[in-house]
Amino acid sequence: MRKRNFFYLLILGLLAIFMVACSAADNAANATDPEEAAATEESDSNEESEEDTIKVGILHSLSGTMAISETSVQQAELLAIEEINEDGGVLGKQLEPVIEDGASDWPTFAEKANKLLQQDEVATIFGGWTSASRKAMLPVVEEHNGLLFYPVQYEGMEASPNIFYTGAAPNQQIVPAVDWLLENRGDSFFLLGSDYVFPRTANAAIRAQLDNEGAELVGEEYTPLGHTDYNTVIAKIKNENPDVIFNTLNGDSNVAFFKQLKDAGITSDDITVLSVSVAEEEIKGIGADVIEGHLTSWNYYQTTDTPENEEFVANYQEEYGEDAVTADPIEAGYFGVYLWAQAVEEAGTTDVDEVREAAKGISYEAPNGTVTIDGDNQHVYKTVRIGEVQSDGMISELWQTEEPVKPDPYLDEYDWASDLSESLAE
């Protein structure tokens, strides 16, 4: 009988140890060694200059379905941090990345963002890919007045004071792509997307745009994330025979869709597919021969012809292997680190409010060209590029805007979008 009690006692003991360990770990996190803790207590005001590193958080999915895409963004961010450190760091201090795994699970993103801000007290977080992960982190960074650099193109309709958006806003990717298609490929459109916020919102904007241009929308289909059977959709496409398929599918679905489209005998000569979530990395998975000749719309390709890009691609491949490809989100993750570092240098501190103020109008020569932070919405000016997939898996540019496009996440500049953005004004 006593042994059973012993068991309960043991649980109690374990629980106590767990809690003590946790609180000890907390203390340890706050002060790496006791002497330093004493030192910082003595001179509270000099706390910042006492530390010789600046912690930055990196929060991408390293496991789960998104890992394949997000791992390369993480690698690019680490590369940027390494380069900055070799150049002497920021404010004379080395950057110390704290890596966490978002595990392709949105509540985990919220938990880890909380941990990075509260526990590690990082100066900024670089992270996220899906809109859902960004939306999960948004209340956390706003509550703790942290910073988040988000590197992926998205659906717009958002401008948090605590987030810098280094990917494209809809007017830097989708709107110009539709314009270009109307001019060059015809005016009957078929919209195909995965069933979540980005494709739904993007297509709502495209519908309004097509309506305004007097173009024809012949079909609109959504499939669940991870869907792999596109025969019914392709049958519908054959039936309607559009000039253009505007593709907002995400992830594995693209592999299935393009294979089945090719098997159905539809080539890029018959119908042009323009994708906004397929970059060099995804083409590797789909197979260049399958998707060859179809189009994409991004701000950056591995083939983009700038001296900065040549150096970036060389460094990236040196670090991660000859076969490693760079792509738009990878590049956006990379220059996001530089933009932040520059803003911190400008502000002379890592204090979030001051960094935000200093970041307004900052420019950087990124691999895709000059990027400038728009102070009003914390998105960046970027060049828009339409490209065609080549047989070697690279994308060659067909068209680009003459200069970087001003970001317009709420599509305020477009009359046809007034209904859209009006309904969103909370």
Binding site: N5, Y8, I11, A136, E143, D195, P224
Partner: protein, 360 residues
Amino acid sequence: MQNTIYQKIWSQRVILNLIFLLLLAAPLFLSDFRLNLLGKFLAFAILAIGLDLLWGYTGVLSLGHGIFFGLGAYCMAMYLKLEATGGGLPDFMAWSGMSELPLIWIPFQYPIVAIILGILLPAIIAFMLGYLTFRNRISGVYFTILSQALVLVVVTLFVGSQNLTGGSSGLTNFNTFFGFSVNSATTQTAFYIITVIVLGLVFFLSRKLVKGRFGKILVGIRDGENRMRFLGYSPSAYKTFIYTLSAAIAGLAGMLFVLQVGIISPTMIGIIPSIEMVLWVALGGRGTLIGPVIGAVLVNAAKTGFSESYPDIWTYFLGLLFVLVVVFLPKGITGLFEKWNDRRKKQDVSSSVEVEKSYS
């Protein structure tokens, strides 16, 4: 003999009370972030108790508790979302082309209604499914498959109706709860305390339930359903009741989860989390009530701990932990102690006769 049993109950109760008090006192020595994590684990522990009633005591394996958890969570999240928009249209509805608040969202403007529905809704769905399946004597693997199918249906529905549920992004960005800021440290501490109290209550009431005559009937159904039927009991009624009860407990846990984590999305209620929930119970030791609580806290603490220390390879550690426990501790962590006790008893034959607890 009488004396020792009395002693056993007394001292167990004392230790359980001590654990409870220690949990209550946790805000004094844990940082806000760790406290928040512990609160989340304890919300999971509440669900695990409900699942143990169903699986451990009644022998009905449900791989679909994620949706009951999710329903509770979504009910609470809908209220919080409406509170955050001040009764206006949530942002995702606007994107999806809605112009006014849909009918099913209207009751969730009232917190009390939302809380009641968060418990009632899972209970009603479980009752309907349970009534139809158990009455038709669908049990064992067939029931498990059905429960899993229910998850698929509900998750597909939730992801598909983006205009109503926020789709795969789920619901997040909350503001206030009964007028208190949900993100402030004080409110979070209060949520933690509420979670601990609810856990204590659920544990205490479940213990009362299974220690009595009712619990014996449940175990009877688990170990010999037909015998119980021949004895004049109606196993389907008992099973339906327990299934409904455990769904209600799961809904309760879901509400506490949302308050502390601040987001709910279909990834939290799908097939993988549903299986994970069963793993907590199995790991802790089913049919013990305390086991699942330990399992839920331990597995989730391990998950957090591993992923913080080894963000690249933590999933392997977690997998290894599962394999080790299943291979070496088939009866879970509590089983380890039972085994150890048995061995001690064999060495010490002179100790008094004890009624062995039976396991299927």
